[in-house]
């Protein structure tokens, strides 16, 4: 089975990913935390990365978090991409996580 190298340019971490394995799962197996882990199902957008170099296959991803235009440019969800070559990736800043702000009145 083919094994590919994934390098995270933002953090300097690198790890191997087996053919057919998602980038996020490979990272988790190495106990690395260089990409945020959410639902692992392409639904929450938490694990968004930018692929700078390399080829990969995509599983189904939420259109809200990975619209086709973004996927074209390599902005994808790490839990739903499966490398076909070595990859160089970069972290994408998370959207402002909404803090529990006090806009709700108590009664």
């Amino acid at each position: 089975m083919a094994v590919f190298q994934v390098v995270n340019r933002t953090t300097g971490d690198h790890f191997t990913c087996q053919e057919g394995q998602s980038v996020l799962k490979a990272m988790e197996q190495r106990d690395l935390k260089c990409v945020p882990v959410g639902c692992r199902g392409g639904g929450c957008g938490f694990c968004k990365i930018q692929v700078l170099e390399g080829h990969f296959e995509c599983g189904k991803m939420s259109k809200r978090h990975a619209p086709p235009e973004a996927v074209e440019k390599g902005e994808v969800l790490a839990c739903r991409i499966y490398p076909l070559t070595d990859l160089i990736i970069e972290c994408v800043p998370l959207p402002e996580a909404a803090p529990a702000k006090q806009t709700t009145k108590n009664r």
């Binding site: 199902g41 392409g42 938490f46 939420s62 996580a97 529990a100 108590n106």
Partner: protein, 307 residues
């Protein structure tokens, strides 16, 4: 139940891949597929539920929750509740009978947190699955996976909790069973019940509207929750956290994700509620313990990973 709203009746969840989703909810959760419709939606129920379905899956390009439905006692109550909603200024939409197969007309409305809810009075009564209604055996053979007992509640994330409270409590007759207050006394979480359960629906404050945190399914025992955890590992299903206990409601729980990233919970136990109970309050200073009673710290995922 003072206004005739009886219980959670169904939830429609969007999934990215129908085959994977059906496998998850049947093989792993142990729900039973009861029908499909010409829109491609799949209908499921848990074995103790007497009506035809409680979970509807719809394939879409973005996961999340389309709506949650509550069953009301009868058509007269449905008419009155519809009128009360309109009088209160809540816009209602009429969904004709049979839009969901074997379900009567539904009254749909969206609350200020951005979530859609429905009321309905009729759905085909099919009885508990696999057991007779006369001299019934304790449980049916042939249940899969976690053997979910019933669809129990949903937790939604969104803004305007006070306005949502007004609709559920003042118009629909729910009670506030538990709440989380911040240091200024603002309610940032509300657990609402229309029954003896600790919650039939819950909301946590979040800036973005209409987010779905989880759909929850009831199990009988802590042993069953641990067995669910075993099955999550055996099937390499994406886990969130648990098995553990909540401070809020004191239920024993485990969270995991369906193949499209929608969060599921299975839980057992928890406190009970009567209408003379005053709300239980947790403070945000103790939020970690309120959510995860053993760890006493929140994992970031619980607050931010939503569909």
């Amino acid at each position: 139940m003072k206004k005739g709203v009886m219980r959670p009746g169904h939830v429609q969840i969007r999934v990215l891949d129908m085959d994977e989703a059906v496998k998850h909810y049947t093989d792993l959760l142990g729900m039973i597929e009861t029908d499909r419709d010409d829109q491609g939606r799949v209908y499921l129920k848990a074995w103790t539920e007497v009506d035809k379905f409680s979970l509807v899956l719809r394939e879409a390009d973005e996961p999340g929750c389309d709506f949650m439905g509550f069953k009301v006692v009868d058509e007269a109550a449905l008419n009155q509740l519809e009128k009360d909603l309109v009088d209160y200024g809540v816009g209602v939409e009429q969904i004709p009978a049979e839009e969901l197969k074997d379900c009567g007309r539904r009254v749909r409305f969206t609350v200020p947190s951005g979530h859609a809810f429905e009321l309905y009075a009729d759905k085909k009564y099919t009885g508990k699955w696999g057991v007779s209604s006369v001299n019934p055996e304790a449980w049916p053979r042939g249940l899969q996976g976690m053997k979910a007992v019933r669809f129990d509640h949903c937790l939604f994330y969104g803004p305007e909790l006070a306005a949502v409270y007004d609709i559920f409590v003042n118009v629909l007759g729910f009670h506030l069973a538990e709440q989380v207050l911040d240091p200024e006394g603002t309610r940032v979480a509300q657990f609402l019940t229309v029954s003896m359960k600790e919650h039939d629906v819950a909301f946590i404050h979040h800036e973005e509207k209409g987010k779905f945190h989880h759909a929850s399914f009831y199990l009988d025992t802590w042993e069953a929750v641990l067995r669910a955890a075993d099955l999550i590992s055996m099937t390499d299903t994406s886990i969130d956290i648990g098995p553990t206990r909540h401070g809020l409601t004191h239920g024993q729980t485990i969270y995991f994700f369906d193949p499209s990233g929608n969060r599921n919970e299975v839980f057992c136990g928890g406190d009970y509620f009567y209408p003379d109970h005053k709300p239980v309050t947790w403070k945000t200073e103790e939020l970690g313990k309120a959510i995860f009673y053993h760890d006493r710290v929140l994992n970031e995922r619980f607050m931010t990973v939503l569909t």
